[in-house]
Symmetry: C2
Subunit: 391 residues, 2 copies
């Protein structure tokens, strides 16, 4: 087991009255900046609920909306201006990972004189941010209790992440009812993201990390069981609750404690990086990119290192046989899972050709300073091969 | 899934240099009160290491030692006096659960004008405490990152717990090397406590709490696999590390989120309560009491509610057959596990007769305000029956 420091201070407020409890956490705020996306929270009633609760507690608030999937740095820059104009002392993000990620950039941007893109281009690690609260509507990214923010730059065609302690939300309000109206495809993309967060952490060569192996397997089994159920019964509270809590657990970093890592966070993280290029170049949903890339990555690494693929299959799918046989069956099972919840498993299904494979592979490797992959180290040519396998 | 609020702010510093990192967390302290037990930390070198590190960082400190297993309230009272005399602004507990539990009582007692036993007799919930840090030497109680303290009263023959947010340690330094000298019996008692913490959380009737079921199963599998290994290879770092981290995970409350509870903490907790009476009356090790009581409790409840016993057996031991058959096999497997690590499974092995069954049963039920048991509700007569089964 590798040495580690683990701390997650976010207060998780989970259940049917999560918003009511969460609003009291902001009782002393002078001005809350409420950030949300393109308006789905207005359709499903969450906007009305939150604003009524804020008014009921006499908490002044301003609004900034329009965050899109793969949030662009231009939105963060604009949000920083508004937060400063409004003298906001709290950022409340109501939405999915994109909204919360943008909120983090804005919360730190307020205290930073330079361009907030510096956080994502590794020029500057933010040290201070306004307190952030999240009301989650899309279980997927785990941003609600993580110290990470992922933001895109449409000009440079980059999608980068930044991790900083000051990004840790003060609270995360998780009410499964807020996910009832999530369409099947978005539910599925969220599930793929959770599965990927679990899988990235699983694939390490640390000789002994069995407790976290087991915990990750448990999270994966839950996602595999409950994602199809959530699509079949979108208003089943318990089913939505399992998936929502799995999304947070899968990315709150307790699952990667003691595991080998390239830079702090335990796990491999190659597939995420390879997928980020697809999102940056084609604007596809992160989850849909992951359901294509993860099986392709597995097919590439199985010939070099089948051990953990085999262990995973034996433990969660009950596969039998030698390592290679079990590894291959594990890949088949994951492809079946993704197909079952309506996600693509080939680039062609996303109408993505091979025109940028070289360019994207170069960026994927460069984003990790030529140190991509922990379970299997990947060079640029390997990443191109993974894109080809995914065709 | 039931509604819940979960937060655990303790910084976990895990690994071979945990003490070095932890000491820096106290850099601004004016006076640290170092609390430890009967001196095993002097034998294994931890005392020398910690005091050298404190001196190296120019952090003034005083000492208070002599905490015993099942720490008595008289020790807490004495510690409060010393902490006040010394003007301590930080309590550093170096030891196992007993030392950390006593430290929590002392840390809160400093701010309380009354008798600290009030915390444990439910007369007063402490609201403020000195900051606490822990350097763990016995993985078992989970006190290193929990908000709970268990203290005994030799006069009233009581062993009670108190949970308070201010009890949450600021940091927990977990260096598996500090457990190398732990004798086999204490290693086993610790493992029984971890297993029991996991099992207590498992036994609820919540219709859907599958993610946490899976996580608990993972923790149990780790304890069952690594406890015998730790006894066989006491200086195997990875083995000690798995067991140490399992002890914290099993009791940091993430495993009981969303699960039915009698009062806040998800789970059943009958066996703990029934065992606490044994410790209070006979001064036995908590883990040894649990290895006797848990199988007896399982035998009692299996006739009323075999479902989760059966599920657990199918998932972690691969048992097959109907619910009753699987439940019975699960109990056999747990008894085998406890025996394998050298623990008793009958009261007779602890030389405990039936002289206080009635009295202890009454106290066990009274400690929970006649509301003992979540998975199966227990009356006084039921608890007596469990003591009889354990004979």
């Amino acid at each position: 087991m590798t040495d580690f420091i683990y701390q997650n201070t976010t207060k998780i407020i989970f259940g049917r009255t999560a918003e009511e409890i969460a609003v009291k956490e902001m009782a002393d705020c002078k001005k809350v900046l409420l950030i949300y996306g393109s308006g789905s929270i207005k359709k499903n009633g969450l906007y009305d609920k939150l604003t009524a609760l804020l008014k009921g507690e006499n908490i002044p608030f301003a609004e900034f909306s329009g965050v899109t999937a793969n949030p662009d740095i231009s939105f963060v820059r604009e949000g920083v201006k508004i937060a400063r104009q409004e003298n906001a002392d709290f950022i409340l993000a109501a939405g999915g990972g994109s909204v919360i990620d943008a909120a983090k950039g804005i919360a730190a941007g307020v205290y930073y004189e330079g361009d907030p893109w510096d956080f994502y281009s590794k020029k500057h690690v933010p040290q201070k941010a306004l307190p952030i609260g999240s009301v989650l509507t899309i279980p997927a990214a785990g941003s609600e209790s993580s110290v990470t923010s992922v933001v895109s730059n449409s000009v440079t065609k980059e999608k980068n992440s930044c991790s900083a302690a000051c990004f840790a939300p003060k609270f995360a309000a998780l009410n499964p009812e807020n996910t009832y109206t999530l369409p099947p495809y978005q539910t599925a993309c969220g599930a793929a993201d959770m599965a990927a967060h679990s899988l990235e952490r699983y694939f390490v060569n640390t000789p002994c990390c069995d407790l976290t192996d087991r915990l990750i397997e448990g999270a994966l089994q839950t996602v595999i069981e409950f994602a199809p159920k959530a699509i079949a019964e979108p208003q089943n509270y318990d089913v939505r609750a399992e998936l929502m809590w799995a999304g947070t657990i899968a990315h709150c970093n307790i699952l990667d404690t003691g595991r080998e890592s390239a830079k702090g966070r335990g796990g491999d993280w190659s597939s995420h990086n390879i997928e980020h290029q697809l999102s940056a170049y084609y604007g596809i949903a992160h989850g849909a990119g992951l359901s294509v890339i993860f099986p392709a990555w597995m097919k590439f690494v199985k010939n070099k290192n089948p051990r953990k693929l085999a262990q995973l299959g034996r433990r969660i799918f009950g596969t039998v046989g030698g390592d290679m046989e079990c590894a291959e069956e594990t890949i088949v099972r994951f492809e079946e899972f993704f197909k079952k919840i309506g996600l693509p498993t080939r680039l062609s299904e996303l109408s993505i050709g091979d025109e940028f494979f070289g360019e994207m592979a170069e960026k994927a490797v460069a984003a990790k300073n030529n140190n991509l992959g922990v379970y299997v180290h990947l060079e640029k040519g390997d990443v191109e091969e993974i894109y080809r396998i995914a065709q």
